[in-house]
């Protein structure tokens, strides 16, 4: 098979301020073959998106492409192509699908208008013919009732359907290359699987090439023919997918393959990138769990209804959570797994009484939190803390880390003086593995993984007994996930914390938990030990979730 796009010695830097520049991509080579999928894999900041978007020259204004860089497409260097030529190529021969379908679609235009626009721009179709074709395209990407959907607005579709519409727009002009930038990252796991299969199917049918960008090597293994592993703007390793998975040469590739929690093993700690880069052997001993004791936190038949106003006086109830019960004992973890809309975050908020339950009890050490007055609630607030999913949103951007950490101690009167509190904050930072100079810095100066450590440090500042972790690693790269999960395990062992661990990722929940609750549409559909649930899932939904876990290359090897 011949090369469709060849990227040679690509160097891209970003101007930051007057003098500073940041080299994002430093000499990258890769080749997208015709009728094949190339995957660019790396953590955020590795330069994978910049490399891919350089092909279409869709780069921010402050980007500078080195003059010696070349992107060859059909014998032409796209980096020196004039703007009209690029416009003709974009959307027609090379098209792109992005991570956030909601922000990639125009909210005030109907789906039909948006798909038809692509056709009319490049093919000069009549409005009627374009709409006709748009309906066919929507049918092809698997949207039910495509004709009716033409008149829908993006917000009327689910996230998965929005991404299907994006894909329909991208393939509308039968492109030779589809660039998919983390197209499934924002989607639920089961939807992720469907979209992945759709892309693979379309690629085969239209004989196009796909450049698939992802941070998850396990996911990529299922659809890629070739893999390029990037880190810090350079290519660490590239080759056919089988070789990358079975005989990885580079330590970083090996680390990426190892750091995702596995379903079959439960090591004491997850291997992290650092282990491999420094040539240490990751620990192999199995994880030991303490026996279940008396529960610290109990939820009994928790129920939460939200009232939606439908008219001046009319309203209807929306049941977010119904009949959820669980006990968490000291030093142990209860895992809550489910997709978006399953009510798992509502359970977390109810457990902390950040929301008041409509019925049921959330007990901490025997006291029902919902019945406490705000004044009597305060001492209980100290004993149960939360770590949120999005480390970018959960820290106050206007406060230094020091102030963020000291505030909870001040509220609860911990530490004799202000200087003692600052000393404690410094020790907390050390404990979660951050330097002491982080105290005077602001949240935006830290990476996602570091911010999640800060959020954990803040939760620990009041010495809680129960920690609710609401998707603590979902917003993080796979490689950073392992370090945060290890930190949570370390803290649990040394402090005897009880965890309520919430995630959409079954593999992560299985690794962390002693008991797993599977939630769907506000109800617990299955519960049990992680081993039992994985060995013999009873509910159909659980089976679907298990099937959606990316399994890397080995599984796809059996498929044609």
């Amino acid at each position: 098979m011949s090369a469709l796009v060849t990227v040679r010695d690509l160097r891209v830097s970003f101007r930051l301020g007057r003098e500073r520049t940041l080299e994002a991509v430093r000499g990258v080579h890769f080749t997208v073959r015709e009728d094949a999928t190339l995957a660019l894999v790396g953590e955020s900041g590795s330069g994978k998106t910049v490399s891919a978007m350089s092909i279409l020259r869709l780069l921010p204004e402050n980007a500078v492409v080195h003059p010696a860089s070349r992107v060859e497409y059909a014998g032409e260097n796209l980096l020196s192509a004039p703007a009209p030529r690029l416009r003709a190529l974009r959307g027609r021969e090379i098209s792109a699908v992005f991570q956030e379908p909601m922000s990639s679609l125009n909210p005030v235009l109907t789906v039909g208008e948006q798909v038809a626009e692509v056709l009319r721009l490049h093919r000069r179709m009549s409005a009627r013919a374009a709409l006709e074709r748009a309906a066919e395209l929507l049918a092809e990407v698997g949207i039910p009732e495509p004709r009716a959907r033409l008149r829908s607005y993006p917000h009327e579709l689910s996230g998965g359907q929005q991404q299907r519409v994006m894909i329909a727009m991208a393939i509308a002009n039968e492109p030779k290359l589809l660039i998919a930038d983390e197209p499934t990252t924002a989607l639920d796991v089961t939807v992720q699987r469907q979209v992945l299969e759709l892309i693979a199917r379309l690629r085969e049918r239209h004989r196009m090439s796909v450049l698939f960008i992802s941070h998850d090597l396990g996911l990529v293994g299922e659809i890629a023919d070739d893999v390029v592993v990037m880190r810090d703007g350079v290519v660490r390793e590239s080759g056919p997918v089988a070789r990358i998975f079975h005989a990885p040469q580079d330590a970083y590739t090996k680390a990426l393959l190892a750091c995702r929690p596995r379903l079959e093993a439960r090591p004491r700690r997850l291997p992290v990138i650092d282990d491999f880069m420094r040539g240490r052997t990751p620990p192999a001993a199995p994880l030991e769990r303490p026996p279940a004791g008396a529960p610290v936190m109990q939820a009994k038949q928790l129920r939460k209804e939200f009232r939606l106003r439908t008219g001046l006086f009319a309203s209807k109830a929306l049941v977010a959570v119904s009949d959820v019960s669980f006990d968490v004992a000291r030093g142990r973890t209860v895992g809550l797994v489910g997709e978006s809309g399953s009510g798992k975050t509502t359970v977390a908020l109810l457990a902390l009484r950040l929301l008041d339950p409509s019925a049921g009890e959330a007990r901490l050490d025997g006291a029902d939190l919902a019945r406490l007055t705000p004044g009597r609630m305060l001492p209980f607030r100290r004993r149960i803390q939360i770590v949120f999913q999005n480390p970018y949103a959960s820290l106050n951007p206007r406060r230094t880390i020091g102030r963020t950490l000291v505030e909870p101690m001040r509220i609860h009167g911990l530490g004799a003086s202000e200087s003692e509190r600052y000393e404690r904050a410094r020790r907390l930072l050390e404990r979660v593995g951050l330097p002491a100079d982080a105290m005077q810095r602001y949240p935006h100066e830290f990476s996602g993984g570091q911010r999640q450590r800060i959020a954990i440090a803040r939760a620990l500042a009041v010495e809680p007994e129960v920690l609710v972790c609401d998707e603590p690693v979902s917003a993080l790269d796979v490689s950073v996930q392992a370090t945060v999960l290890n930190l949570l395990l370390d803290l649990q062992e040394s402090l005897g914390l009880a965890y309520l661990f919430i995630s959409h990722d079954l593999a992560v929940v299985k690794y962390m938990s002693d008991e797993v609750l599977v939630m769907r549409a506000g109800e617990v559909v299955e519960r049990g030990t992680p081993e039992a649930i994985f060995a013999s899932p009873q509910h159909e939904y659980t089976r679907k979730l298990i099937a959606a876990i990316p399994r890397g290359y080995s599984k796809s090897g059996s498929e044609p």
Partner: protein, 351 residues
């Protein structure tokens, strides 16, 4: 406490100062605003333009750089003064005639003297021969004070109500919306007039008998609505953000979440709106003074100056208009740009 001081707030303010200095436009605007503030302080202390109300020149005295320009009005006034001696004798019918002798005796006790009036002044004179430059400086004091104080009051009202409505929602929000609707449903100039009527006569008139406070209150009470809407929307957006939930989880009270956690994060909206309000209020003060509802007649503001300029311009005396306009334009531009820079300097992400 010492530890807090040297770890956090000082650094934040120092950093703000440093970043403002790096921003050339910001530093320049800050310089201009400081010059104005110093000028106002001097004017308040009476060191500058203390004698703005003295009639030191001939009516419509020419600016000194236009000394040879004919000044018909001054000549007319002089002739009128000379004619004053010959008054027809009306003693037979004048009921006040018996008192004239007594009054004349009283007048003789007071020392009056016609001061030597100069023909030209630095930047010309007004109808009474007052120095226009001194008036503009004194007028800056009044106008800026009115604009800034009114904007601060309106910001306070709007931010407080917006925070309450946006943060608590439900009935708090509903009732505040009613108040807001009532205020915005009345044409604003009508609202200003009615408030002026209430504050200038009746019981309240004794409270704010004179000075600029009546105008400040009128402007603040009518001008908070825009700020309220903006702040309310920001609070609705922020109240369910995770950092606010996290603050609730560590036990921060509602007041602390509202004003310690959220307020700094919406401060850029408040600051920009504040600067717009200062500009808008200075302009409204001009309109009010022009209509006679603004500052009292014994004070001068840019507004009263512009009001006088209307008739002067017809007879070709442009300097009062020019002085007021230049003073106002420079200050308002510098102030707007300063708030822009301040917003950027306060944003930790733009460092």
């Amino acid at each position: 406490m010492a530890a807090v001081l040297d770890i956090v707030p000082e650094n934040a303010w120092l950093a703000l100062w440093r970043r403002l200095q790096q921003d050339r436009i910001g530093a320049f605007s800050l310089g201009i605003v400081i010059v104005y503030l110093v000028m106002i302080l001097f004017a308040m202390a009476g060191l500058l333009a203390g004698g703005w109300s003295e009639e030191i020149g001939v009516p419509y005295a020419n600016p000194s750089f236009l000394g040879e320009r004919p000044n018909l009005e001054a000549a007319l006034a002089q002739r009128a003064a000379q004619r004053q001696g010959r008054v027809p004798d009306l003693t037979a019918v004048d009921p006040l005639a018996p008192k004239y002798a007594e009054w004349e005796k009283r007048t003789a006790e007071l020392k009056t003297g016609e001061r030597e009036r100069s023909l030209t002044l630095r930047w010309g004179g007004d109808r009474w021969g007052r120095d226009v430059l001194a008036k503009a400086i004194k007028g800056s004091q009044v106008s800026i004070a009115v604009g800034v104080f009114a904007a601060l009051c309106a910001t306070f009202i709007g931010t407080l109500l917006g925070a309450l409505g946006g943060f608590y929602g439900r009935w708090v929000n509903d009732s505040l919306e009613w108040v807001y609707n009532v205020f915005t449903s009345i044409p604003s100039i009508l609202l200003v007039f009615s408030l002026a009527a209430v504050l200038r006569s009746g019981v309240l008139a004794h409270l704010f008998a004179s000075g600029i406070w009546t105008v400040v209150i009128i402007l603040a009470v009518t001008g908070w609505t825009g700020m309220y809407r903006l702040v309310r929307a920001e609070y609705m957006k922020h109240r369910s953000r995770e950092y606010v939930l996290a603050a609730q989880a560590i036990g921060a009270s509602a007041a602390s979440r509202m004003f310690v956690h959220i307020l700094p994060n919406v401060s850029h909206v408040v600051l920009v709106q504040l600067s717009l309000l200062v500009v808008a209020f200075i302009k409204v003060e001009v309109i009010l003074s022009f209509l006679g509802l603004g500052v009292p007649v014994d004070m001068v503001s840019w507004g009263t100056m512009l009001g006088e300029a209307q008739t002067e311009l017809v007879i070709g005396k442009w300097w009062q208009l020019a002085a007021a306009t230049v003073f106002m334009a420079i200050f308002l531009t510098a102030f707007s740009m300063l708030t822009d820079s301040l917003r950027d300097a306060l944003d930790p992400k733009l460092r």
